[in-house]
């Protein structure tokens, strides 16, 4: 598949992986701004700003943004994480020009005060919605416990207090700092013409200004503390464990991803056989999350509170065993097969391909074709896995328990 790359005179990077066989085109703006970039008093501002972009520009208000995007049948959304704010859209190729114009337009939002106050209420509702979800609460708390004062420990949504006291002027400053042309990547995947993409980018984004923003990238090692928090009305106990793992710039991310699959894929993994198959828990999964300069692996478990002490012991036993013995050759092959097949399946959808393409470029300033990614996974050896386990032991780890029990003890 042809890959294209250009940098506009204003510093905006444009990349594209074009494919005539797809039915749609997807494009996205990948902004290097997330919760780790926020000073503590502005916690939640990246995510709030993501919402505010959809509230409109000088040219259109929020109702017009929604109406015009829906009118061409575009599937659009945005998401904010610890490191990235991404605006994305997928549409039929005949609507490319129109969809692009709207998307570029909202990336230069008006940030009107009245909209700011209305949308603040929506964000406060979103914070309350997640407060009703035990897994989200446990995830945020465990992340904070693991990373401590490190910026990666901060909440993406922010709190009712920080969001409640944000002012629109602070958001305008934050926007100036992080939404410069030099701090984002425009990525395109699917059925499009590169010449047209570049022409659209120049026409609609050419006047943008702004340099790349500096990100403080400090290494991080987790606290490995144990903590419980009472939620007496919950029926289930939620356990989240966090281990250190390689950062995104390290090639060790491939063995680390396979290790997470071996340990905690939703099916056929060690935790599946230790916790799900015997009926000790109704969820047990491990997810590897690489960040700039640091990484971690989250283990999520949901279980009957009665089983929680035994499950903490089972979890520790499985982690210690994998740490001591490493995976078997069969397990590694199986994890590769699964992971590689899922990549192929996922990439058939233009929107998913866009996400891989954009995130990868945004963090590595490099293009990674599907073939290269599959090759990188296929070539991981047991020695690579052993090296990663030595450098980033999966036990001890930070352990957080949320639910009706207050008597849980650290699992040794």
């Amino acid at each position: 598949m042809p890959f294209h790359h250009a940098i506009l005179p204003n510093g905006l990077t444009v990349i594209g992986e074009l494919d005539d066989q797809t039915h749609s085109v997807a494009f996205g703006f990948f902004v290097r701004a997330g919760s780790r970039d926020e000073p503590p008093e502005l916690s939640g501002i990246s995510h709030f700003l993501e919402h505010m972009c959809f509230k409109g520009s000088e040219r259109r208000d929020s109702l017009a943004v929604n109406r015009e995007l829906d009118r061409i049948g575009a599937k659009h959304n945005a998401q904010t994480s610890e490191e990235d704010t991404v605006y994305y859209l997928c549409c039929l190729p005949e609507h490319t020009a129109q969809a692009f114009e709207i998307m570029a337009d909202i990336l230069r939002p008006s940030l009107r005060k009245a909209d700011f106050e209305t949308e603040k209420q929506v964000i406060l509702e979103e914070i309350q919605m997640y407060a009703d979800d035990p897994m989200s609460v446990a995830f945020e708390d465990a992340k904070a416990l693991h990373f401590g004062a490190h910026p990666l420990g901060r909440s993406v949504l922010g709190t009712e207090q920080t969001v409640g006291s944000l002012r629109v002027e602070q958001m305008r400053d934050y926007f100036q700092r992080y939404y410069g042309a030099g701090n984002m990547t425009l990525a395109v995947a699917g059925r499009a013409d590169w010449g047209e993409v570049l022409a659209l980018a120049e026409r609609h984004c050419g006047s943008w200004r702004g340099e790349p923003a500096l990100r403080e990238v400090l290494p991080a090692r987790g606290s490995h503390q144990f903590r419980t928090r009472l939620r007496s009305d919950d029926q289930q106990e939620t356990l989240v464990a966090v281990a250190d793992a390689p950062p995104s710039e390290s090639l060790d991310r491939y063995p680390a991803a396979l290790l997470a699959t071996i340990m905690g894929d939703h099916t056929g993994s060690r935790l599946y056989w230790a916790l799900i198959d015997p009926g000790h828990a109704d969820a047990a999964e491990v997810s590897y999350q690489p960040f700039d300069g640091a990484g971690c692996a989250f283990t999520f478990v949901s279980c009957d509170p009665e089983h929680a002490p035994a499950n903490l012991t089972r979890l520790r036993n499985e982690l210690q065993r994998l740490q001591a013995e490493g995976p078997s050759p069969d397990e590694l092959e199986q994890a590769k097969n699964k992971t590689m097949a899922r990549i192929v399946l996922r990439n058939e959808r233009t929107l998913f391909r866009l996400m891989s393409l954009g995130y990868y470029w945004s963090h590595h300033r490099q293009y990674l074709s599907q073939e290269e990614e599959l090759q990188a996974l296929a070539s991981v050896t047991l020695d690579d896995v052993a090296r990663v386990l030595r450098a980033y032991p999966i036990w001890p780890e930070t352990v957080y328990a949320l639910g009706p029990r207050t008597d849980l003890q650290p699992p040794g």
Binding site: C91, Q235, S302, D304, R342
Partner: protein, 413 residues
């Protein structure tokens, strides 16, 4: 871009197979629907189909639980065996060349599961815990309880069943259910993607074609209700659900129903999102959708919002529903709805899994697979008058309203 090719074959025992070759993908997927969903659960054992689906994966044919899952992993299969309301469904996606091998394994799961006593208690424990997790998820819980109250039994059932139902299961009762309901007559197999149709039909003939025909069981509808209810729970937000009857998918007016639901709450410029979220900032999530069984269907609306704004949210939702019924829809709203549905339909062509599920659903509801041209023509034939007329006929007197949270809301009679 080359176009898709479609195929259909019906076996004498009632099993129907449909296929669609999608030239732009390397993957292939299938969806196998068996008439053994939660609607067939014995009333005193709700949760039977759900437990069976999980139990079936614990070893089948000449493979034990572990070698079964390993074999599927080796083939790079993404798969799911689950009880739905009507069907017990098996779906899988993999590279095209592995599709038939995956099908062979999952047919074993259907026809030759071990269903060993030794595995039963762990499967039941899993089901019991999934029910507890549902209690901890207020949004999902609200929707489950809304459907239970709005649709007549058995269509209002949730596949997880009830704690009492799951506790009452025995290995024998679940095995009996398997024997009575899990058979390939009346089943639907839909495959899409990089498929070899001839090889697929040959494989299906060998794997499923010999099963004897079996009549579809008849269901006696039970009562629905109550129409107004509140579930007290100490949550941050109040969850609000509304449902009212619509015509089901096989009905010629179902396009009008789907259009009305989309215009009310199907996307970000739809009325509920505009009025509840964009203009008033009352909540983060608010939406409406059309949900259909073969014989009944509903317009289902949902919002989650903080306690002190819940009454206003419900009032605005009801006002929008009334405006839809009384004043109908405008031409430009219809245009937006068409664009959204058409592009979703076209984008489905990029996912063998999504496409196989869609053609299985078409076959179940309509007895045939609709083409994009047919759907486009039906959407184009809608007019503001026809959709508005349909909205005017909606039975607001048969609306179900349910809330979940710290405080009950004031509902219209």
């Amino acid at each position: 871009m080359s176009t898709t090719e479609s195929y259909q074959h019906r076996f004498p025992n009632g099993l129907t197979v449909v296929g669609e070759r999608m030239p732009s993908v390397k993957s292939a997927a299938f969806s196998l629907l068996l008439p053994a969903g939660a609607i067939y659960d014995p009333p005193e054992r709700l949760g039977t189909a759900g437990v069976l689906a999980e139990w079936m994966l614990r070893g089948a044919g000449d493979r034990d639980s572990r070698s079964l899952i390993e074999a599927l992993d080796r083939l790079g299969a993404t798969y799911r065996v689950s009880a739905q309301s009507v069907h017990l469904g098996l779906t899988a996606a993999t590279l095209g060349r592995h599709l038939i091998a995956v099908l062979r394994i999952l047919v074993d799961v259907v026809r030759r599961p071990h269903l060993r006593d030794d595995d039963f208690e762990s499967v039941r424990a899993l089901a019991a815990q999934s029910l507890r997790s549902l209690e901890d998820d207020p949004g999902a819980k609200l929707m489950v309880e809304l459907r239970r109250r709005h649709f007549r039994d058995p269509w209002g059932r949730h596949p997880l069943g009830t704690p009492e139902g799951v506790a009452a299961l025995t290995p024998e009762s679940v095995r009996q259910f398997h024997g009575a309901h899990v058979h390939s007559s009346g089943a639907i197999l839909a495959a899409a993607g990089d498929i070899d149709w001839t090889a697929l039909v040959d494989a299906v003939a060998e794997l499923l074609g010999d099963a004897p025909p079996c009549p579809e069981p008849t269901l006696r509808p039970g009562p629905a209700g109550p129409a107004r209810d509140h579930i007290a729970k100490a949550t941050e937000q109040v969850q609000i659900g509304l449902a009212l009857p619509m015509v089901p998918l096989p009905h010629p007016d179902s396009y009008q129903a789907r259009a009305a639901a989309a215009i009310l709450g199907g996307y970000s410029s739809a009325r509920l999102f505009t009025e509840v979220r964009e203009k008033r900032g009352l909540c983060y999530s608010v939406a409406a959708a059309y949900e259909s069984f073969r014989d009944e269907a509903a317009l289902v609306c949902h919002a989650g919002t903080s306690s002190d704004r819940a009454q206003q949210t419900l009032d605005v939702m009801l006002a929008e529903l009334n405006r839809l019924c009384d004043r109908g829809v405008a031409a430009d709203e219809l245009e937006t709805m068409r664009a959204g549905l058409k592009s979703s339909w076209i984008m489905q062509q990029e996912s063998s899994l999504a496409r196989s599920s869609q053609i299985a659903s078409d076959l179940y509801y309509l007895g045939r697979v609709r083409t994009l041209d047919e759907i486009s023509a039906a959407l184009d034939a809608l007019t503001p008058q026809s959709v508005s007329r349909y909205c005017g006929s909606l039975r607001r007197d048969q609306m179900t309203i349910l809330s979940l949270g710290p405080r009950a809301l004031v509902c219209p009679e």
